[in-house]
C-alpha cells in the first residue's frame, strides 16, 4: 500500500478502514493531498470496500466534503462500497443540512458500519 500522510489505513477483514490524521481538515494543501490519498486507495491500491472513521475529527470544511464526494463517485465506478462512522454531532449535522446523508451511508460506530457491509 502506498504511503499516506493525511490518512491512516488498516484492514478489518475485507473492509479498508480509513482514519484521519488531522483533527481539523481545513488546510487547502492538506485537503488536496487527502483527496489524492483517498482516490489512490481505489485507483492504485484497488480497495473497493471502504469505511471512513471520523473519530477525532473536530472540524472539516466543504472542500474536504468534496473530496469524499469524489471518492464516493470513484468507488461507484468500480461497484465499490463506502460507509462513514463516528461523526461528531456537528459534522453529522453538516451532512444532514447538505443532504449528503442521502448520498453517504452513515453509521454510529465502526462495528456498526462493518456489520452493515454484511460481508
Amino acid at each position: 500500500m502506498s504511503n499516506k500522510r493525511r490518512i491512516i489505513v488498516s484492514d478489518e477483514g475485507a473492509v479498508c478502514v480509513v482514519r484521519f490524521v488531522d483533527k481539523k481538515i481545513v488546510d487547502s494543501a492538506s485537503i488536496e493531498q487527502l483527496g489524492e490519498e483517498l482516490n489512490s486507495l481505489v485507483l492504485i491500491d484497488k480497495k473497493s470496500v471502504l469505511l471512513l472513521n471520523f473519530e477525532g475529527v473536530e472540524f472539516m470544511s466543504s472542500a474536504a466534503l468534496n473530496k469524499m464526494i469524489s471518492l464516493n463517485s470513484k468507488l461507484k465506478a468500480v461497484q465499490g462500497r463506502l460507509k462513514l462512522c463516528n461523526l461528531r454531532a456537528e459534522i453529522k449535522e453538516v451532512f444532514t443540512i447538505t443532504r449528503l446523508d442521502r448520498v453517504f451511508d452513515i453509521r454510529k460506530t465502526e462495528p456498526d458500519a462493518i456489520a452493515a457491509f454484511k460481508l
Binding site: S61, K67, N72, T98, R99
Partner: protein
C-alpha cells in the same frame, strides 16, 4: 503569520468596502456595543485566512462560546474566507480580503469583503437537488446561510455580512430520527 500579514499592507487602503447598503448596515452593531472588534486586510492566501479565523475562534471561546454555536460560526467563516480568497480574488497576490469581526458574549458579527468580480448567490444551483447532491461543488454558500442567524451580500456580491446570535432559537436541536442513522439504504 501575523507579521507576514502586516508586511503585505503597508501601502494598502484602510478598507476595501463601500458604505454598507441599508439592509447590511442594519445588521452591523456599533463597535462600541461589542466586547471585542477586529479589522484586518489580508492577502489572498488560505493559510493567512485560517490564522485570522483562529483569532476569531479564540475570542469567541473567551466569551464563552462553545458547542454548536462555535462550530457553526467556524464553518460559516471558514467557507466565507476561503470563498473570498479562492473564488473572489482567485488567489491573486495583488488582491486583498478585508475582515471585520465583532464579538460579544451573545453576538458574533462577521464581514468579509474581497476584490473579485462578485457573484449572485441566488443564481447558484441548489446543491441539495437530486441532480447536484452528489456533485463536489456549491455547498459553502448554502452552509453559510443555514448556519448563521442573518446573512447578507452586497449588490455586487463581493461582500458578505453575517451575524450569529448565541443560543439562537432557530438552531434548536431537532430530535434525531434514529431510523435515519441506521443507513437503511445500502450504498
Amino acid at each position: 503569520m501575523k507579521s507576514k500579514t502586516a508586511a503585505c499592507y503597508q501601502e494598502t487602503p484602510d478598507s476595501l468596502s463601500q458604505p454598507l447598503c441599508k439592509e447590511a448596515s442594519m445588521l452591523a452593531p456599533s463597535k462600541d456595543s461589542m466586547s471585542w472588534s477586529y479589522h484586518q486586510l489580508i492577502s489572498s492566501e488560505t493559510d493567512v485566512g485560517h490564522a485570522q479565523i483562529e483569532i476569531l475562534m479564540t475570542q469567541l471561546e473567551k466569551f464563552g462560546w462553545d458547542g454548536r454555536d462555535l462550530f457553526h460560526v467556524r464553518m460559516a467563516v471558514e467557507e466565507a474566507v476561503v470563498n473570498a480568497i479562492e473564488h473572489g480574488n482567485k488567489r491573486d497576490p495583488l488582491k486583498l480580503v478585508e475582515l471585520d469581526f465583532r464579538v460579544s458574549p451573545d453576538l458574533c458579527y462577521i464581514d468579509v469583503i474581497d476584490q473579485g468580480e462578485g457573484f449572485d448567490p441566488n443564481a447558484l444551483h441548489d446543491c441539495t437537488d437530486e441532480e447536484f447532491v452528489d456533485k463536489p461543488r456549491g455547498r459553502g454558500v448554502m452552509l453559510i446561510k443555514e448556519l448563521m442567524s442573518e446573512t447578507m451580500y452586497n449588490a455586487k456580491g463581493n461582500q458578505l455580512t453575517m451575524i450569529r446570535r448565541r443560543n439562537d432559537p432557530a438552531f434548536e436541536i431537532v430530535p434525531e430520527d434514529d431510523e435515519s442513522d441506521e443507513g437503511s439504504i445500502e450504498k
